[in-house]
Amino acid sequence: MNWIFEPWPWYVAGPLIALVMFSLLMADKNFGMSSNLRTLCAICGAGKSVDFFKIDWKAQQWNLLVLIGTVIGGYIGFHFLSNDTVVHLNPQTVTELKALGFQSAGSSYLPTELFETSNSFDVKNFSILAIGGLLIGFGTRYAGGCTSGHAISGLSNLQLPSLVAVIGFFIGGLIMVNVIFPLIFSL
């Protein structure tokens, strides 16, 4: 059973994600995490001024439960199922990231330069986290789904719009790491 405390390989994680999707289908629901962001807006009262949020959020309670479960799962994964959480990257990736100023590459789970709370609240890092969040929240609703809704659910159902969205995800991601990262990091 020691393997469970090691990082899980792709051939364990992928089938588990499929299991999550099929479990939700069997419960008459569709797998898609980003819908929760819309629901959270609705709960906060955004429906009063914006029609897009005039939804019966109680009908989305099931998905909020999945979300709460995801938080609990992260807690369990970190506290009870991990010996250490260092991510072992391709050595070439580590070299590149160190050149960009990420000395924690190859020795932590997240880059401490960005996510360590003592670093996250300087102006630059806070802006990065905030802008990233805005892009994710805006983009996912504009595209009508995120990785779970398009790359897993949509593509599994052979939906052409989901293929376009996933191609978009990659265009955006490639622009970010190749063009924008060298501009905003490394200095």
Partner: protein, 137 residues
């Protein structure tokens, strides 16, 4: 009882995201640099099982636990919203290294600063709702 099932599904998802390192910023960077098969293996194997499973569901007309026909909401036709929205999402995904599932897994794992990302992703969704009528879909 049904609520407990949804919670449990979320727990499995949250553990999987954390333990597979799909919630690691480093893995997302590595994926976008095509320097590891790991993330492609995760998404690809989920997808392969998904495609086959959904074909089986459709061809055998399998029913859900409640006895209903299994509904797969089709995506509305279009191009612009998927391409432009996708690109915007991809920029954010690569920048903060987490998408809307893993970010909640990270919150549970105790990475407090991800709360900034979560808060601003809710705001981003709010902004979309405010300007959506002016955007090409």
């Amino acid at each position: 009882m049904k609520n407990l099932i949804f919670l449990l599904i979320g727990v499995i998802f949250g553990i999987t995201m954390f333990k597979s390192e799909a919630a690691s910023w480093f893995r997302i960077y590595e994926m976008f640099q095509f320097q590891s098969f790991h993330m492609y293996g995760i998404i690809g194997s989920a997808l392969l099982i998904g495609v086959v499973g959904i074909q089986v569901i459709k061809r055998l007309d399998l029913k859900s636990f409640s006895g209903e026909t299994i509904e797969l909401a089709p995506k509305t036709k279009g191009f612009n919203r998927y391409m432009f929205g996708g690109i915007i999402f991809g920029l954010g995904w690569a920048l903060v290294g987490a998408c809307p599932g893993p970010m909640f897994s990270l919150l549970g794992a105790g990475f407090g600063s991800i709360a900034v990302v979560i808060l601003f992703s809710v705001l981003g969704t709010l902004v979309y709702g405010m300007v959506m009528k002016k955007l090409p879909h």
